[in-house]
Amino acid sequence: MIDPVGILLGGVLPAVAAAAAMLCGWKSTRSAGIAWLIGLSAGYLAGHWALDARGVGLSAAVAKSFSPHEARDWLPLVVISAAAIDAIGLLGKKSVAIAWTLRVGWCLWLPWRLLTGSIYLPSTAEVVGFDTGAWSTLEATAWLGGSGGLLALVWLALRHAPEQTLPRLRSSLATFVALGATATIALSGSLTIGQLMGVLTAALIGCGIAAGALRLESGPDSAAGPLLAAYGGVLVIGRFLFDPELPLHFAGLLLLTLVVAVGWIAPPKLLSARIHALLRIVLCLTALALTVIPAARDFAAAQAEIESNPYLNYQP
């Protein structure tokens, strides 16, 4: 259950940390790209670690990210590594090819890393037994390669967003999409995973407010790496480890909605600014409606099933 302390640590704190880090990043570098990278990464890490620190302390929470126990524990390192790759891409023209090579490798590594030790990859599972649902080599190659390839395409689409075009709208839509993903996952029944998407949402709100205050003419595509790492990482975990509650088509649609909100959707010359904005808004709303509404309907049906139990509050 999400309590007031959870909202403070997973909502308010990441938003404030993201805004403060973005401000510091901008003041020290005057680079909007670096400011977005620092702001979004810092916001997500602050929220993730703050939530994990409850009951064990901050140092234990941070240490857990460096000796992960569950797939979700990998997310801070995943975000940091993706931010580092984007930062390498900012070093100069020669570093662009290096950054893209790293991005492709990272995208193929991410699903494998998050699913290592699960029932899907029995060769790496510590204990295997009963009905594992393990993949064959061909299935593993298809699922891991397909997921990695899709993530790489999304990163490509995010990086090729029309820079300096509708940065505030794209920032707002990214927040809205992350909020929709949070609702979808939480309504599907996983509070833990939904909460992590909520942390990303809060970090995006903080960055959006700071970017607006600083009048930065760049959107969240500047932080494509950490954005995809947190968003895509949570979706991979939710899809595979929370099966069948988060269906494949929900996860896939939510991933594509991020591209619609932030990334490349059509050659900029083809669209006027107004049509461009309208197209993004309509597509985002449609895609989110296709995930949030069915998830809410399923949740309501499950609640109704409980309430329709004739033995509930039975009085002889």
Partner: protein, 202 residues
């Protein structure tokens, strides 16, 4: 033969071959049709919700000359959790609780046994490694031997009962505490079927 059962048999057979259980040890395979693994947990302090695990396998050796040399190994399918409510079971299987896709099995492997005579018969205080949610902790389970004898099919069986409790937070399951209680009461009752050709007459 499924993997946990094979693992149990290999472990038991291995311990016999290595002489850890002594020459007179009897080898048993747990009869899952007469085994119950039940748990109860507080719901908001208003009531207790009870559930069970429906799939398990394992085995044990019973050394009558030197009971401390006996051994037990049990593997439970975490995904077989059943609280008589599908939506709740799906939630319990997910990352908020057991995370069964990542940690499919709950296992117990004994490391030491101390036997004492209780009113109801021999009480085996079994110390061992209990792994839940991928976290292994050393626990001591009080196994009360309830009875033994030939079953309907003529095979010799022994039966045990255990009641204990543990804190789920110690196994990394911290979500929704205290709304859903930290302390979980556990009852395990099982029978094992002797795996030798000789039928033991008690």
């Amino acid at each position: 033969m499924n993997t946990p059962l094979r693992t149990a048999l290999v472990a038991v057979a291995g311990s016999l071959l290595l002489g850890q259980s002594g020459f007179g040890a009897e080898t048993y395979v747990i009869d899952d049709g007469h085994t119950s693994i039940i748990f109860g947990v507080s719901h908001m302090g208003y009531s207790y919700t009870y559930g069970r695990f429906n799939k398990m396998s394992g085995g044990y050796t019973l050394d009558r000359e030197d009971p401390t040399a006996s051994q037990i190994q049990l593997t439970i399918s975490a995904a077989s959790i059943d609280t008589n409510h599908q939506k709740r079971d799906d939630h319990l299987k997910g990352p908020d609780f057991f995370n069964v896709k990542q940690f499919p099995n709950i296992t117990f492997q004994s490391t030491a046994i101390v036997v004492e005579q209780a009113k109801k018969g021999p009480l085996y205080n079994v110390t061992g490694d209990l792994t839940i949610h991928g976290v292994t902790r050393r626990v001591t389970l009080p196994l009360q031997k309830l009875g033994e004898g030939n079953g309907p099919a003529g095979k010799f069986r022994t039966g045990f009962h255990c009641e204990t409790s543990l804190k789920r937070s110690e196994f990394g399951m911290t979500n929704m505490i205290p709304m859903i209680g930290d302390e979980v009461a556990i009852t395990v009752s099982f029978e094992g079927i002797l795996q030798t050709d000789t039928t033991v007459v008690p």
